[in-house]
């Protein structure tokens, strides 16, 4: 049989993504099911007419799904069983054979060839577990290959033996599955006494409340400093010099060619500020349009996703979820909702998609709305830092403090108003593992690529629209209509209406539009908060519409618009 398609199936946290990363080359496509544990990637193995598609199915504990993420996994699997020339690589964790075999036995009953990668083989040996692979192979009737995906051990053999994949021969009654698993384990596994390892001690400390909470606060602080350090260094030493020393002269020459003014000049180069190009304020497609995504936002995106990917792959996030579970319950969610919130800090779009790790519709609505209202994305945060950063905590604290209070208060209100259960947290706490650098870089690269693909067209479109709206006098027109709300209620100048219009396209660009207005600190704070809250950007809006449905999206949007103006007015009064 010519294998065309390989599904990687397994429990979460068994190193499935590392196996995936080992099997596939550089061209990996992340598809529509993101979220940390719910990411689904597709890549290729082999070449020419032997090329096979490899699909990393979201991790699942059984074929009886509970969360939407697991449903996705089972759906993908069911679809594959109907296709010819499709096989399953079942990645199982040698250190947790019993629990993993539960899924394996379910897979073996399906009408699809299976081959097993017995991963974390070295870790199992290290903690005193020995498994008789030959015997296991014989019992299950499918090939079993011990692997250490992180070092690449066994991967070659796995690839060479793919053609040996076959349908399982193991017969059992469904209701006796656990009993059967017990029998198998007894025959093939021997466990020697093991010592408490350092990683286990560390693990205990980080889930224990009295030690875990201070550690969590420390980790958050360090992360913040690392992101700032990487972001600021990249901007200060790489991107700004590139733009100022290399790109600016080219653009100035181009500006002279265009005659220094006119519609085309204004759209491409923008306004010259004192005869020079100011990348933050000129607002041309080739000046600000490239500067904002590349030099202002990209460095922070790189830094943020580098740190986040490390946190994900090391196994810290589930522990954070345990510690923060109680706080999340007060807003009607449980600890795992920290995942969409953290992802939302990078970009609201993957954040909205990651709400799929939550079980109920109510939770997904609360999480998505809270995130869209009160969690600014990294692009916007970077621009706010650029704008207000010089005032230090005096400027930044009111912005982010207000957003946090809003997040909390709105969460409590939504929990009260929206009827329904809050399911409880129920997650595996994987052991700490050093992330595999190759997989980490691949993930980082995918996320950066995705950011550039999403951001650049919208930033450019935004700038084009700004220029058109200004030259046609439309912004002034809207400004006058909205004047009572904008100026009287929130104390902002009329021109800020332009930022509110463009904020629908790209929030980072909208914050950037505030720069030339010469606002006071108070106005900057109000504008930053209102821009975060009043409406999601178009990319997030599209995803939320899909995820929540039109009725819930309208509800969420009404909450956002009304609350944004109320909070703006309130800040105007008290600041």
């Amino acid at each position: 049989m010519q294998v065309r398609k390989i599904l990687l199936v397994g429990n979460p946290n068994v190193g499935k993504s590392v196996v995936f990363s080992r099997l596939t080359g550089v061209s990996v496509i992340a598809s529509n099911y993101p979220g940390t544990t719910v990411e689904f990637c597709e890549g290729g193995l082999g070449s020419g007419n032997k090329k096979m598609a490899v699909i990393d199915v979201p991790g699942t504990y059984s074929l009886y799904p509970i969360s939407p993420a697991e449903k996705v996994a089972v759906e993908m699997f069911d679809k594959a069983t109907e296709e010819k020339n499709c096989i399953v690589i079942n990645v199982i964790d040698a250190t947790n054979l019993e629990r993993n075999l539960n899924l394996t036995l379910q897979l073996l009953k399906k009408n699809i060839p299976v081959i097993i990668a017995l991963n974390l083989w070295d870790e199992a040996k290290h903690i005193g577990i020995s498994i008789d692979v030959e015997k296991l192979q014989k019992i299950l009737g499918v090939p079993v290959i011990p692997t250490v995906a992180i070092t690449g051990q066994g991967i070659k053999e796995l690839v060479n033996r793919l053609t040996e994949a076959k349908q399982g021969t193991y017969e059992y009654k469904d209701e006796e599955r656990w009993h059967e698993i017990g029998n198998i384990i007894e025959k093939i596994q021997v466990i020697k006494h093991k010592h408490h390892t350092f990683a286990e001690r560390l693990s205990d400390l980080t889930v224990h409340p009295w030690t875990g909470i201070p550690i969590a606060i420390g980790i958050m602080y360090i992360i913040f400093q690392i992101i700032r350090f990487i972001g600021e260094s990249l901007i200060g030493y790489v991107f700004e010099p590139l733009f100022e020393n290399l790109w600016a002269p080219v653009m100035m020459a181009f500006s002279r060619v265009l005659g220094g003014q006119g519609i085309i000049h204004n759209i491409l180069i923008g306004q010259l500020i004192e005869g020079e190009i100011d990348f933050g304020q000129s607002f041309g497609l080739l000046t600000t349009g490239l500067f904002v995504p590349f030099a202002a936002v990209l460095p922070y995106i790189v830094a943020f996703y580098l740190v986040l990917s490390f946190l994900e792959d090391s196994g810290y996030l589930p522990r954070l979820a345990v510690l923060i579970d109680k706080l999340m319950h007060s807003v009607g969610l449980h600890g795992m909702a920290i995942v969409p919130m953290l992802l939302g800090l990078g970009c609201n779009v993957p954040g909205a998609l990651a709400t799929r790790v939550l079980e109920t519709k109510r939770e997904r609505f609360i999480a998505a709305t809270l995130m869209a209202i009160a969690v600014p994305c990294m692009a916007q945060i970077a621009m706010i830092f650029g704008l207000i950063g010089e005032y230090g905590a005096r400027g930044l604290f009111p912005v982010f403090g207000t957003l946090f209070v809003i997040w909390f208060v709105f969460g409590i209100l939504m929990k009260l108003v929206i009827k329904g259960e809050s399911p409880e947290i129920f997650i595996e706490i994987p052991p700490y593992r050093l992330p595999y650098f190759g997989a980490l870089l691949k993930k980082l690269w995918m996320r950066i690529k995705w950011f550039l693909k999403e951001a650049i067209p919208f930033v450019l479109l935004g700038i084009l629209i700004v220029n058109l709206l200004y030259s046609l006098g439309i912004i002034e027109f809207f400004g006058r209509i909205a004047a009572p709300v904008i100026t009287k209620l929130m104390g902002l100048p009329l021109e800020a209406v332009g930022a509110l219009i463009i904020g629908f396209l790209r929030k980072d660009l909208a914050v950037g539009m505030l720069a030339p207005l010469g606002l006071s600190l108070k106005q900057l704070i109000i504008a930053s908060v209102v821009l975060t809250m009043y409406f999601p950007c178009v990319a997030t809006f599209a995803i939320l519409l899909k995820e929540l449905g039109i009725i819930d999206m309208i509800k969420a949007a009404v909450i956002m618009v009304i609350s944004a103006f109320l909070i703006g007015a309130l800040l105007n009064l008290i600041l």
């Binding site: 504990y61 059984s62 009886y64 509970i66 250190t95 947790n96 019993e98 629990r99 539960n102 903690i127 577990i129 656990w178 693990s203 205990d204 889930v207 224990h208 409340p209 875990g212 589930p318 979820a321 345990v322 510690l323 579970d325 109680k326 449980h334 600890g335 399911p423 409880e424 947290i425 129920f426 997650i427 595996e428 706490i429 994987p430 052991p431």
Partner: protein
Amino acid sequence: MAAIDLSQMMAGQTGRIIGFNGGRGLVQRLESMGIRLGVQITKVSGQIMRGPVVVRLGNTQVAIGFGMARKVLVEVD
């Protein structure tokens, strides 16, 4: 020893699961993570104010919400 539930166990204590106070759905969910009758279980930690309980079974650690933890009955060694 008397049967208690997971939330009542002390951190560090070990016991054996002897029953569930819940329906088929709950049992199936717990089983998929390896939490089933007869299994030896050690409580790693509980959180303040009825937060989730973390337990260890074999080499797996699982966090279980407080309400769910109350439905798992254990006999402490």
